[in-house]
């Protein structure tokens, strides 16, 4: 056991003295005496540890608390129901803690893996609710030159709050853009709905007439009813797609077959493109790897590009063609939307993704900037360029989902 007297001249080490004093009462709970020698041999590091605002605790190779700073001790006193002090095993403390949350096992495993050398670094965002809801970034790294770990707790409650608020604001904005797109499509969506309704009405009226005949043709009646059921499903599909657009709320990510998302979205604009005399060519890669994403948001991005393309061709002379393509490039899926419209000048091209920038007389200017933030939040890229002959092509690529 090392005499504490060797360090009396450094007043900053008073705290450390108490650690050593307590530990000396129970030698069996301290293994790794060699570590302590190393720690105490560097007064500057110890002073540094004490003066850190971050909550830091040092563990030996078994997870036993060897040293800590005031900040950590205060934190433990606030959050933990049991005293976890020098000589106590932090990992056991976590395992037994009454407030074990879903993250606790992961935290324990992570620290253990740093202690046994299987990981070089571990971090986790860890919430505690006592005495008030807070979130910490807990990082564990190996203790340099000895077996053990340094675990630090960084309070990120404020940062998380700001992130959450800004995420909510972005979602609200994205929702507004979706609603305004719905407004643009309203006329053609109403037309979409009128079709199945007209078919249902005709079939129903025809069935009634057949039944009223002297010899009712029941085969016609049966066929009419079967078609009514089918057309009702068709009408429900149109409404379902509309509802998807109007959806508001927290982002949900699922594994998506992007070809299927595109085909579904193209149905939304079916009438719109016919009314505008746009001919559509669709070239979808035969098999796409699944993409992890929020279906509503990604549909919104695609819809944004398609509506922009259709708008770009309004009043254009000659062919109005819209080309939609999906390809697999490496481990990413790329979607391209090509138009034969007016095209954009260099000045516009530079600013097209900026918020509030628009080339449309009644445009809000939010569509592409929101689309960009959606794609980037998915880890992808969104870009556009002029075609060699005429018009623009916009592309976005998304990483394939991990297996």
């Amino acid at each position: 056991m090392i005499s504490a007297l060797e360090y009396t001249e450094l007043t900053d080490l008073i705290h450390w003295l108490s650690v050593i004093k307590e530990s000396s009462n129970d030698m069996t709970s301290f293994r790794g005496t060699g570590q302590r020698t190393l720690l105490l041999a560097d007064p500057l590091s110890q002073a540094l540890l004490l003066s850190l605002k971050e909550h830091v605790v040092i563990l030996d190779r078994d997870g036993v608390v060897v040293a800590f700073n005031d900040a950590w001790q205060n934190l433990v006193r606030e959050c933990a129901t049991d005293e976890i002090g020098p000589g106590a095993n932090l990992l056991d403390g976590y395992r037994a803690t009454a407030q074990a949350g879903p993250q606790t096992p992961e935290l324990v495993l992570g620290i253990e893996s740093v202690l046994n050398g299987t990981r070089e670094e571990f971090s986790i965002e860890y919430s505690c609710t006592v005495p008030r809801p807070r979130c910490f970034l807990v990082t564990a790294v190996p203790l340099q030159g000895a077996k053990g770990a340094v675990v630090s707790y960084n309070d990120i409650t404020e940062r998380k709050k700001v992130e959450e608020e800004s995420r909510r604001a972005r979602e609200e904005l994205a929702h507004s853009v979706r609603v305004s797109m719905m407004g643009e499509l309203m006329a053609s969506l109403a037309h979409e709905l009128n079709q199945p309704l007209a078919a249902i009405r005709s079939n129903a009226q025809a069935a009634l007439r057949f039944l009223a005949a002297p010899v009712p043709d029941l085969e016609e009646v049966r066929a009419a009813l079967a078609e009514i059921v089918e057309d009702d499903r068709w009408a429900s599909e149109v409404i379902r797609r509309l509802r998807m657009l109007a959806r508001r709320g927290k982002s949900e990510r699922t594994r998506l077959d992007f070809n299927e998302v595109l085909r579904d979205t193209l149905q939304l604009v079916r009438t719109e493109v016919i009314e505008r005399s746009v001919s559509v060519t669709v070239e979808l890669a035969p098999s796409l790897p699944p993409v992890l994403g929020d279906r509503v948001q990604l549909q919104q991005v695609f819809l944004n590009l398609v509506l922009n393309a259709v708008e770009a061709m309004a009043g254009a002379e000659g062919f109005r063609t819209l080309g939609v393509r999906t390809v697999v490039e490496g481990d990413a899926v790329t979607v391209s939307v090509q138009d034969s419209g007016r095209g954009l000048g260099d000045a516009d091209l530079e600013r097209i993704f900026d918020a509030f920038y628009t080339t449309k007389p009644e445009g809000l200017g939010m569509g592409l900037s929101i689309s960009l933030s959606i794609i980037e939040a998915h880890g992808g890229r969104l870009w556009g360029g002029r075609n060699a002959d005429r018009g623009m092509t916009f592309h976005f690529s998304l990483p394939a989902a991990p297996a």
């Binding site: 009128n194 007209a198 078919a199 249902i200 005709s202 069935a207 007439r209 009438t271 016919i274 009314e275």
Partner: protein, 132 residues
Amino acid sequence: MEDIRPVVLILDDDVSIRRSMGRLLRSVGLEMQGFPNAGELLRYERPLRPTCLVLDIYLPDMNGLDLLKRLTVTDPELPVVVITGHVDESLRQRALRAGATAFLAKPYDEQVLLEAIQGALLRPVRRPVRRH
């Protein structure tokens, strides 16, 4: 002996519309021939029977109004009833000026449609359209 029963031609890209309208026409004893696009109609050899055309403006391969104007020239004796899911007054005016006998909105009332078709079948010769 020639078949002189009338036949109604239906040009609409929606198969549900063609099927259901066909059934409605059959329930009143009228025969029907359906076409999914302008190309098919233009290739069709019309029999020498009283005929009328029910036309949806929104076609995949050709503008319905352009088709109507063309038919005024190539088939002046073919009456055309226009039906459409997307109604606005200017469209109605343009359709009537282009030579349509009647203009109906979807979902259409069966009575209105049948009367329009009957009216069309009884007036096989269309007067030339007067331009204002």
